[in-house]
């Protein structure tokens, strides 16, 4: 019996004990899960679930300019990406505050322009493949600077989320109340979107766009099926993202599949299970319902 436990443990732990790239990938994935999945919950609550996707495109021109000026430098491209993302978010916010357009509409318009600009910039460079490879990195290719970047961003944004929490809840639940109480209510929305940008850039640079957006949104959507309360949903989303990260890395190791899609596939399986099993899911709806007398 204990032999079986031993071999199971070996199966789970050996890849990480043996290979440092697996360890780095695991730590980076767990860090990203911790910080970006809760942000995904807030995005779904604001009905901005597709914003992550849009923003990951909006980052492109900034990354390309960083690459053109400083070559293959993680820090230059990261700073470029963050600046690009912040400019797009800031512009979208400005447009939605001063015109009849809502935030999502103005963002859709601006990110498309940014994407076009980014592709034009990249095409102007000869080394397209090189850049595209860097842009869409992979979890198994995380190096030390990349790991530091993800870990730093994750730590900073978990703290920032704790600091902003009360304002964010109020701003998402009842924005009119917040606006009526004066005091620059747009600060909360903009601060939150900045967190989203920073998390996306960190994930995007080190592990690719699919990982960055997927770990942010998929666990968030399935976590909402499980709980009525926001804190429980936030925690559930992080745990689901971490589970998907761990199992995805192991599966990709043993079956030789690409790491990013495997991790997101695992998150997809968790989503399917949530759809079936969660209190608000299908199976609960099919079972005969008992009810109390009051």
């Amino acid at each position: 019996m204990s032999d079986e436990i031993q071999s199971l443990w070996g199966l789970l732990a050996d890849p990480f004990i043996e290979f440092s790239f697996m360890r780095r990938a695991l730590v980076a994935t767990l860090a990203l899960s911790l910080s970006s999945a809760p942000l995904g919950i807030f995005l779904t609550l604001r009905r901005m679930s597709l914003l992550g996707d849009a923003l990951s495109h909006a980052i492109l021109p900034g990354v390309a300019i960083g690459f053109m000026l400083f070559g293959v430098s993680l820090s230059a491209m990261t700073i470029g990406g963050v600046l690009g993302g912040l400019i797009v978010v800031g512009l979208a916010g400005l447009v939605s505050r001063s015109t009849v357009l809502k935030e999502d509409a103005s963002l859709a318009a601006i990110y498309l322009v940014a994407l076009a600009l980014g592709i034009t910039l990249i095409s102007a460079q000869g080394t397209q493949l090189d850049l595209l490879h860097i842009l869409f990195g992979s979890a198994l290719g995380v190096d030390s600077p990349g790991l530091n970047l993800v870990a730093g961003v994750a730590s900073a944004s978990v703290i920032a989320l704790a600091v902003l929490y009360r304002g964010l809840v109020l701003e998402s639940f009842d924005p009119v109340y917040l606006a009526a109480s004066g005091r620059r209510s747009w600060v909360w929305q903009q601060g939150f979107l900045m967190l989203v940008v920073v998390n996306l850039v960190a994930g995007f640079q080190t592990m690719g766009t699919l990982m960055a957006v997927g770990l942010m949104m998929l666990p968030a959507v399935s976590a909402r099926l499980w709980h009525d309360g926001l804190p429980a949903q936030l925690l559930n989303a992080s745990v689901q993202a971490m589970l998907a990260g761990l199992s995805g890395l192991l599966l990709s190791y043993y079956f030789n599949t690409p790491s990013g899609p495997t991790i997101i596939g695992c998150a997809g399986v968790l989503y399917l299970l949530s759809l079936l099993l969660a209190p608000g899911g299908w199976i609960q709806g099919l079972l005969p319902q008992k009810h109390r007398v009051a």
Binding site: L45, R166, S172, F173, D174, A179, A180, G182, L230, Q233
Partner: protein, 306 residues
């Protein structure tokens, strides 16, 4: 009347939120000193008949116009709400009732004119129409009421035990004790409205603006909520409510403002709610007229002032 067309380009300037003072007739002048080009704002409130009555003005509207796409939803409104008054805002659909409340709290830009408040902005409570609140949000009844303390507690200060006691008391007075841990998504519309009233209680505001507070609320709950409104009135708070039920207005509200984009009548309820006035309000054309000429009242006023 004096005001300046240039300032109409930056409408937010026109919301003068004067800090609290004992009797707030002085607050108006204070606001005028701050907002450039509004030296006469304090003097020019004599338009509405209520403004001439004894007592201090809590809110003075000076020739207020608010438009959507250049069509006025409120057209040259002047007058004032007295401190401690309880006013029903009535009028047909599209008369600008909600627009009036929104421009009072400052979430809508003014096209021209000025609103001056004798109360600081964090002492104003605003209850929007029920449809504007997302009830699927994962928040408990307790936390929802707790958000009413935002202006004092803010984003970071601690929630004291005393504050928790106040929230429980507020829930008790709307008859929702035992609902603390329930998610708001599980409430009926009437219960949700009672939660919002509990939040208003916790806000402890001097000026309370209610937009159709009794829509989709049963008679029993309406009576209970009206009792709270009366209690606020007794505590010298200023209450302005958009109400549709004419009988309710006559019974519970001492003052009334009958709107049909313009002021039809604004005075004691018995003077306002006459058949003749109501008929005039109802005859307001609801549709926009795209061929309508531009309004030059402002230019004329500016010309007189110059």
């Amino acid at each position: 009347m004096h005001y300046d067309i240039d300032n109409a380009l930056s409408p937010k300037l026109h919301h003068g939120f004067a800090p609290q003072a004992a009797c707030q007739c002085a607050g108006l002048a204070l606001m005028a000193a701050r907002g450039s080009g509004f030296a006469a704002a304090g003097v020019a409130v004599a338009g509405g008949s209520l403004g001439q009555r004894a007592g201090c003005a809590m809110i003075a509207l000076n020739n207020l116009t608010v438009s959507y796409r250049h069509h006025p939803a409120l057209h040259h409104i002047s007058g004032s709400f007295a401190k401690g008054s309880l006013t029903a805002v009535v009028g047909p659909n599209g008369a600008g009732k909600s627009t009036l409340l929104k421009s009072l709290v400052g979430v809508l830009p003014l096209a021209s004119g000025a609103v001056s408040m004798a109360v600081s902005r964090d002492r104003i409570a605003y209850l929007p129409q029920a449809s504007e609140i997302d009830r699927s949000f994962p928040i408990t009844v307790f936390d929802c009421v707790l958000l009413g303390t935002w202006s004092t507690v803010g984003p970071w200060r601690r929630i004291s035990r005393q504050l928790r006691g106040r929230i429980e008391a507020a829930l008790h007075s709307v008859g929702l004790e035992g609902f603390e841990a329930r998610p708001v998504g599980t409430l009926s519309s009437g219960q949700m409205q009672r939660v919002m009233f509990a939040r208003l209680l916790v806000q402890d505001a001097e000026l309370i603006l209610l937009d159709e507070p009794f829509n989709a609320v049963d008679t029993k709950t309406t009576q209970a909520l009206l009792k709270l409104v009366r209690q606020w009135h007794g505590e010298q708070r200023t209450v302005i409510a958009v109400v549709h039920d004419e009988a309710q207005v006559r019974e519970f509200f001492p003052d009334a403002l009958l709107l049909a984009r313009e002021v039809v009548a604004w005075d004691h309820t018995s003077i306002v709610m006459t058949d003749a006035n109501l008929l005039r309000a109802r005859s307001m054309a609801e549709a926009w007229d795209d061929q309508a000429a531009e309004c030059h009242t402002d230019d004329a006023a500016a010309g007189l002032a110059a």
